[in-house]
């Protein structure tokens, strides 16, 4: 047993402790240290991609240590084709969000400590294979994010932070009840009650009624996190108020916790619940796609527009997951990564403009391409990726989701596909108003193009936007076995 996964999870946490040793006033040192810690974590995690055996659906690099044996709680970690890319996405975005924090000056040490602890929480959530451990990491994420929004956010930050916290909390408490119910209702031979995911998957089966209730409890927690319509209203507030880096993490990784929760826990643990709720989930997914896109069209604030577009994009992911078909689920998985990259990049890009002009209103811009041609180019590429133009990453996900969904749920696929048209409407319209035309505001005439830090934060994302679009099979093949196994459990 190696401690590879443990190292990946806790490097940021240890890093956070190290930051305490640095003087709070030395912002340069703090930035470098935070960047270094995140980078080290990414480098440590990277070989996972190559060492990973994509021919099996079994968990790999497993670590299992009894934690509270009397309660059946263990420190159990493992990775499979479903979590692999999400873990790498998280560590990949780590250094990028540090770079995206250049505008933050207020109590920098606390800021980076929050960010590093958040990183540990997120990685733990993706890697935990014990329900109790999972829940711990799940809640751990909440606190630093609450601080990030509440302390380093915008004018309405307290409202947004409290809303974010309460909303998520309500969902997770029901999930906790569900987890406890599972614990008391499992009886593993030779072990007794247990929180262990793999043991429960192997030995437990709950009756249909119980599965329906359990699925509902888990699904609420995850649906809020995704967020699915109609549980999405915390998201625009959280995004608009959060600092740039907070938004990037929120969009890039935190939202994936919801979809990941479905594919890892809610769906395979309660397949009968899936059968029962599938129509509802598909309906909500498609409403999310169309509704999110429509509301995006009329936004006046760029960040809010991107936030609502997330509702639409995550709707695609949910449609793919619940279509329960190989292509659709594969598409959903890659779309999670795509959304993390593209929307993460969009938030970084909006942040670039905000840092210069301290406004995110579309109406305050116009003609920006004239003074910031490089920025306009990058923004264009990222926008096209989000629109789902073939050759870039977004298309692969949407195409597979819709193609697969058509095979099992044709009406939903057709309705969902209208989101492809609407995405072009809201993004291109926004782009035109911000970048094209003559410069109408005097203040915009002296805007500076991307600086080195901004380039450094955006270029790596661009590489993958192209890579996934041109050669998706590099990534798709890693997930195949796990997705097939998932479908044999869920789509009976």
């Amino acid at each position: 047993m190696t401690l590879w996964l443990t190292a990946i999870i806790f490097i940021p946490f240890i890093g956070a402790l190290l930051l305490l040793a640095l003087p709070a006033s030395n912002s340069k040192a703090l930035r470098i240290a935070a960047f270094a810690i995140m980078t080290v974590d990414f480098i440590v995690s990277l070989p996972l991609f190559f060492a990973f055996d994509s021919s099996t659906a079994a968990f790999q690099f497993v670590e299992k240590i009894d934690w509270v044996p009397s309660m059946g709680i263990s420190y159990h970690l493992g990775i499979d084709g479903i979590s692999l890319l999400l873990v790498l996405l998280t560590t990949f975005l780590g250094p990028i969000v540090v770079l995206g924090s250049a505008a933050v000056t207020k109590s920098l040490r606390g800021y980076f400590i929050s960010m590093l602890i958040l990183q540990t929480g997120m990685l733990g959530t993706f890697l935990a294979l014990d329900l109790f451990l999972f829940y711990v990491f799940w809640e751990v994420m909440l606190i630093p994010m609450y601080f990030l929004i509440g302390i380093w956010g915008g004018v309405e930050r307290i409202y947004a932070a409290v809303k974010f916290f309460l909303y998520t909390m309500v969902g997770s408490l029901l999930m906790l009840v569900g987890i406890l119910w599972i614990y008391f209702n499992t009886n593993i031979p030779g072990v007794g009650h247990s929180f262990d995911y793999t043991l429960i998957m192997q030995h437990s089966s709950f009756d249909v009624q119980a599965q329906i209730w359990l699925f509902a409890a888990f699904a609420l927690a995850f649906a809020i996190k995704v967020p699915m319509f109609p549980f999405h209203t915390w998201l625009p507030d959280a995004h608009v108020q959060a600092p740039t880096a907070g938004s990037v993490i929120l969009a890039g990784v935190l939202l994936k916790m919801g979809t990941y929760g479905f594919i890892r826990f809610a769906m395979p643990l309660f397949p009968d619940g899936v059968v029962y709720f599938k129509p509802l989930m598909l309906i909500l997914a498609v409403i999310g796609i169309i509704y999110g896109a429509m509301v995006s069209i009329v936004q006046t604030d760029m960040k809010k527009l991107v936030a609502y577009s997330s509702v639409s994009h995550l709707g695609f992911v949910m449609l793919g997951l619940f279509a329960l078909n190989t292509q659709a689920v594969t598409g959903a998985m890659i779309q999670m990564v795509n959304h993390g990259l593209s929307t993460g990049a969009l938030f970084l890009l909006v942040g670039v403009l905000y840092d210069r002009r301290h406004t995110r209103l579309i109406a305050d811009y116009g003609g920006v391409a004239k003074v910031m041609p490089m920025y306009a180019t990058i923004f264009m590429i990222v926008m096209l990726s989000s629109v789902g133009v073939p050759g870039l990453n977004g298309f692969v996900g949407e195409f597979l989701i819709l193609l697969g969904a058509y095979q099992t749920a044709p009406i939903f696929a057709i309705l969902g596909a209208t989101g492809v048209i609407l995405a072009a409407v809201y993004l291109l319209w926004m782009y035109r108003r911000v970048f094209f035309g003559e410069i109408t505001h005097e203040e915009n005439k002296s805007l500076k193009d991307l600086n080195l830090t901004e380039w450094a934060s955006l270029l790596p994302i661009l590489v993958f936007i192209f890579w996934i679009g041109i050669h998706p099979n590099t990534f798709l093949t890693k997930m195949t076995a796990s997705i097939e196994s998932f479908l044999t459990i869920v789509a009976r």
Binding site: F399, Y406, I421, L428, R432, F436, G437, N473
Partner: protein
């Protein structure tokens, strides 16, 4: 034929080079590098065609796999090319015309501040266009399909400082996306029924599945959805509205993308999936009618336009209608034939009009006039005296498009009309539409020639001295195109003149399976009838020409200003108000509904009432409870006493 991949690599190399180094390099290097890369692609296209010709006709299907793109379950998609006679025609036309237009652009775009960006986009366009016509499965075709749409968007809005132009680009993209939606659903249906999206597997499978149930709802739906895609890209009713606005782009772009190549992609796609369409007679009828009506409808709008490029734009919509109509009556080969000749004469028309605009611009610039529109034909007139070469080139193209005998357009248009006439079902109807369209085509084209080049110059005073022929780098490609616009039709002589139809014979292996899938045999007309049809369509062109001559030369009419128009003229001038209708029926309601969804439903109902309402309710309730915590011990004691009494009462009551 592994070397075939170079046909897309050359433009890719060109665009990458110019992306990274173009900004610092002189125009000449940037422009010539981009052009030569396309020239190299053209050479590859020639080599591919020769190699293909060397094979037996039934073996002229070669697949070149480049890499595996997507595997997921039973879906396998390769990034691979399909090389057959249809592809060879397309790649020759695309690379050949592109090469000429690239060279022309070196002159036309001279001095533009984003010169290198223009050539990057142009190379990128050629790259995607080639992927489109070479793809061996629908998703790869779709990559090219959306890719060229993207380039179109970027190039229409190339001068984005003008919001109008940026808006036109956006409109093109979004309208095309509606068509693409149809394409996507069609792909999903095809995969559902056939389990493959690869052409070579798909067509036999389709023939097998629907061969005995021709016109089944599924295949009809599939082909109608594909048609929706085609109406977007090839600017047919109801999605044609973007193309006239697309003229906001630089003129070489109008010539290359919005006349010669990209807009023909819809026609290509229908021809490529001919087998599917043949299996759905209803769809074929719809295709024929949409093509026929578009041909006529757009031609009528062309009558009243005052902008030289707008006339040509509606003309393009109309001519594309002929191609679509050809496909609809099962004459795929005739459709592709017209696609080719149209590429020659329409590219020539646009580039020549570009030369006219260039000339006007130069003349107006000399007298510091920036208000006169250099594209408005009411400011032109008499230009043949000043730019005779451009004039003659323009006239050649006009004769060709009008279908006067001997020129390229004559052969292809005649073939379409003859095939329409010979076909069953709606044959006569679409033939009639096409014929009336032909009269109008000749009319608006000669009207354009007369108003632009004949009569007296109507530009601002003093500007006449500045009217100069465009530089050779612009006129040389025009001469090549003019030659093609004359001789390009001789590869497809009508049966009355020759037994051997080279073009049709070359394409035969491509469309043969489509016909045999439904045991279809094209009707052959008697020679007498065919001569009659030729006579009728030539008369149509002559009538159109004559009316134009009568009005604009004999009577010397000059175009009226917008306010003087009334009745039907005004309706034509305003393009039947289609844009306004779309705006009122689709766009505004969508925005209103979205705003309602946001303000009333999202912020109002969900967030304010449900979410924050819950919070408020908790607070009110909690606030109420708080009042009970008075802190006065007496109150608590009273409550305890009351509680005890209640419990006792309850116990005793049992």
């Amino acid at each position: 034929m592994d070397f075939a991949v170079w046909i897309v690599l050359f433009p890719l190399i060109g665009l990458l080079f110019n992306t990274f180094f173009g900004k610092k390099l002189p125009e000449k290097i940037v422009g010539w590098l981009a052009s030569l890369m396309i020239g190299a692609s053209f050479v590859v296209a020639l080599m591919i065609t020769l190699k293909l010709a060397a094979l037996d006709p039934e073996h002229r299907v070669v697949e070149v796999t480049i890499f595996r793109w997507i595997t997921s379950g039973n879906l396998t998609l390769d990034f691979a090319f399909l090389i057959d006679p249809l592809t060879s025609v397309m790649i020759l036309v695309v690379t050949g015309i592109s090469f000429l237009i690239h060279i022309y652009s070196i002159g036309y775009m001279h001095g533009d501040s984003r010169f290198h960006v223009f050539f990057v986009f142009l190379n990128l366009f050629v790259f995607f266009m080639l992927v489109l016509v070479l793809g061996n499965n629908l998703p790869i075709l779709f990559i090219g399909w959306e890719g060229v749409g993207l380039c179109s968007y970027l190039l229409i809005g190339f001068w984005w400082e003008d919001q109008k132009k940026a808006e036109a680009g956006m409109k093109a993209f979004i309208v095309n996306r509606i068509g693409d939606f149809g394409m996507l659903i069609a792909m999903f249906l095809l995969f559902y029924y056939l389990g493959t999206l690869k052409f070579t597997e798909m067509f036999p499978a389709a023939a097998h599945l629907w061969g005995h149930s021709v016109g089944a709802p599924a295949i009809t739906a599939i082909t109608l959805l594909l048609l929706l895609g085609a109406t977007g890209k090839s600017a047919q009713i109801p999605l044609f509205v973007w193309l006239p606005d697309a003229m906001a782009g630089p003129t070489p772009v109008s010539a290359l993308i919005h006349a010669a190549t990209m807009v023909t992609a819809g026609v290509y796609m229908i021809a490529r999936t001919a087998t599917l369409f043949m299996l759905a007679p209803t769809s074929m009828m719809v295709v024929a009618l949409i093509g026929g009506f578009t041909a006529l409808f757009a031609a009528t709008i062309g009558i009243k336009q005052m902008d030289i490029k707008k006339v040509l734009a509606y003309s393009t919509v109309s001519q594309l209608g002929y191609m679509v109509m050809a496909c609809g009556v099962g004459a795929f080969s005739a459709g592709i034939f017209h696609l080719m000749t149209h590429a020659f004469f329409k590219a020539l028309l646009f580039l020549a009009s570009g030369a006219v605009i260039h000339t006007m611009h130069g003349a107006l610039h000399k007298v510091h006039d920036h208000d006169t529109d250099p594209q408005d034909i009411r400011n032109m007139g008499g230009l043949r005296k000043y730019i005779p070469l451009t004039y003659w080139l323009f006239v050649i193209a006009t004769i060709s498009i009008s279908g006067l005998p001997g020129f390229a357009g004559f052969f292809s248009k005649d073939e379409i009309l003859a095939n329409a006439f010979a076909s069953e079902g709606v044959g006569y109807v679409v033939w009639g539409l096409g014929l009336v369209g032909a009269v109008i085509t000749a009319f608006y084209m000669f009207r354009l020639v007369y108003l632009t080049f004949h009569g007296n110059y109507k530009g601002p005073e003093g500007s006449a001295e500045g009217l100069k022929e465009s530089p050779p780098i612009m006129t040389a490609p025009l001469v090549v195109l003019a030659i093609l616009a004359i001789i390009g039709g001789y590869v497809g002589l009508p049966p009355v003149l020759s037994k051997f139809h080279l073009f049709q014979t070359w394409l035969k292996p491509v469309f043969e399976p489509a016909y045999s899938a439904v045991h279809y045999h094209p009707h052959h007309l008697s020679h007498g009838l065919e001569w009659l049809l030729i006579a009728v369509s030539v008369s149509a062109a002559v009538i159109g020409l004559f009316i134009a001559w009568l009005m604009y030369i004999k009577k010397g009419l000059i175009a009226k200003s917008d306010d003087e128009q009334s009745g039907i003229q005004r309706l034509l001038l305003k393009k039947y108000h289609v844009d306004e209708v779309y705006n009122a029926v689709v766009i505004q309601p969508l925005i209103d509904l979205s705003r309602y969804a946001w303000k009333i439903f999202d912020a109002g109902f969900i967030d304010n009432i449900l979410v924050n309402g819950t919070a408020r309710a908790v607070r009110v309730f909690g606030g109420g409870l708080r009042r009970m915590q008075t802190g006065i011990v007496g109150n608590y004691a009273l409550m305890i006493a009351l509680g005890v009494i209640l419990i006792l009462a309850a116990l005793m009551g049992r």
